[in-house]
Amino acid sequence: MTTNILALLPIMIPIFAGIIMLFMGKRPVMHRVVSGISGLLMILAAIWIVAHVFQNGTMVTYIGDWMAPFGINVVIDMASALLLLTTSIITFAVVVYSFQSIGIERERYYYYVMVMFMIAGVNGAFSTGDIFNMFVFFEVFLLASYVLITLGGTKIQLQEGFKYLLVNMISSNFFVLGVAYLYSVTGSLNMADIYLKLEDYDGSLVIMTIIAVVFMFVFATKAGVFPLFFWLPGSYYAPPMPVIALFGALLTKVGIYAIARTYSLFFIDNQAFTHQALLLLALLTIILGSVGAMAYTDMKKVIIYNILIAVGIILVGFSLMDEVGTIGAMYYLIHDMIIKAALFMLVGFIIYRTGKADSERLGGLIRKHPVTGWMFLVAGFALAGVPPLSGFYGKFFIVQSAFDNDHYIAGIIVLVSSLAVLVSVVRIFMNVFWREEMDFSTLKPIKSDKLLFSSIGLVIVSVTFGLAADFLYPFFEMAASSFHDPASYASYLTEVE
């Protein structure tokens, strides 16, 4: 009874919020109220889900009362539950941030509706237990994101939005293709069922490897992994700041989650090829992201290239696929979602306040905004993984796992990339907040209490997460278990049989 209702709440709350806002018409203030309240409700529901999953194990509901391998089911294990909680927190923060930054025109043209529909899609992709259903939810959030990236219709938005649309359409087509291949091999779409069928699979390894490569192509495009990242820096640069924060924090992470799920459940036979290829691509992504992050002085660009570094580091953890590595990857995944949103929001605040995105042209802001400045430094340290902030634990476990598995180069690259992150973020900090003072009369008089509330709020959440990492360890151990021990994810099916 509880599982039937609870598991659907993260998907249904944003959908209902969107529908209510559609009925209201173009009334921005009411939209703000509805989306704010639904953001809070989602956080409450997600906390309840985490508690429920922690006590009772994986939560499963059979949609339409169809039995497990045949119908679609929503399966929320600890990894999904934690991701749902993080998504809800970020959604609430971004919605509050949008009140004062997105502009009344965009608000009037259903901005919040699209945010809510996108969150419904993201939550759905995190919680579904069916690979085709995951494709459907990918489409749901992609459709909403096409609107969000072009909403407002400035020249750069349309130009980059078109690229984004094209790239995602093509990779979605390949997603369907991959699912079709998988179905023709296994005869099932339920992810746990596919795992059980592939466990004693004695057919050709080549076909499974091909499917693995197709899936990698699809999700690597969505996540921005090395050869397929080309659309990311441009497309994420175009939309307004709250949308960038939402995209940077959530959308690439859905791709990573999908890679982790499929590579732990389906492609277990030929790990020597598939997981090594994944590791190689992840390392190349880290190197490329580091180069990009250090090359630019534009604040937005620096943070966008930091997304690539984080994607690489998380994938290193997931490609190692042992207990320590996946715990580290889960830690780093959650940490990165929160801190990326916080950093984008802080950078957004600086850009809205000064009107300039290039950090070289700013200086001395610490006199005007001391709290924001130091919070930015804390966020930068957390991003680089300075203990005891939240980024440290993820990197620690990932590097430990890399050395355990004799991947010394991988471990060293992850460690060195922290330096690149630190240099890139601290250089922004020093340029913007220290140095000689810029002309303060050019600062724009903006209302900023809500901007600072959500950005500093997220930094505080991140710091708390870092300090409470020890207390949260059992949660992450449980979350990682469904990746390094996929049988535990599939256990709800075996129990039924």
């Binding site: 009874m1 039937n4 209702i5 659907l8 249904m12 959908i15 209902f16 969107g18 529908i19 559609l22 009925f23 018409g25 509901t61 059979y62 949609i63 339409g64 009362d65 929503v74």
Partner: protein, 155 residues
């Protein structure tokens, strides 16, 4: 589009053409398409059809009117805000599966029964129809809204 046609020598394109044949045929064909749309809509669930194709066909019928007559006429015939149509459709589609929360059944669980109606005999009543009405309205509404917006932009 218009300028390209003009260059090609089609000077009279801009004028709204009162094509008697088209208008007369449209009036008749409109009802056939609408009826077929409803037939497809009710055929769904057990046989091919359903809300999506039904909605698309209904939208196609109205678009035929739009081509044969002009936008003002169509707005007079169907005085509905298509945005509201989408919202109502979505509400139908979202509320119905959520109702199963109150009956303690899993999401999207359907309920059905058979009733005896005097003339038609035994008729199946199915809760999925309400969901399908939602799909029908949403699809028809969004197709029409798109066409309408594109048409307005050109003018």
């Amino acid at each position: 589009m218009k300028s390209t046609l003009k260059k090609a020598g089609y000077n009279k394109v801009q004028k709204q053409v009162h094509d008697v044949f088209l208008q007369f045929t449209a009036k008749v064909v409109f009802f056939i398409i609408i009826l077929f749309a409803f037939k497809l809509f009710f055929a769904g669930h057990y046989t091919p059809g359903g809300g999506f194709v039904g909605g698309l066909l209904a939208a196609a019928a109205i678009i035929l009117l739009l081509i044969a007559f002009d936008q003002k006429t169509v707005e007079k015939v169907i005085p509905i805000d298509f945005r509201l149509l989408i919202a109502v459709g979505l509400a139908f589609a979202a509320v119905l599966p959520t109702l199963s929360f109150f009956f303690g059944t899993p999401f999207f669980t359907h309920q059905h029964t058979y009733v005896n109606v005097p003339v038609f005999g035994e008729v199946a009543l199915h809760s999925a129809v309400i969901f399908d009405i939602g799909v029908f309205l949403t699809v028809a509404g969004s197709a029409l809204l798109m066409i309408k917006l594109i048409a307005e932009e050109d003018a």
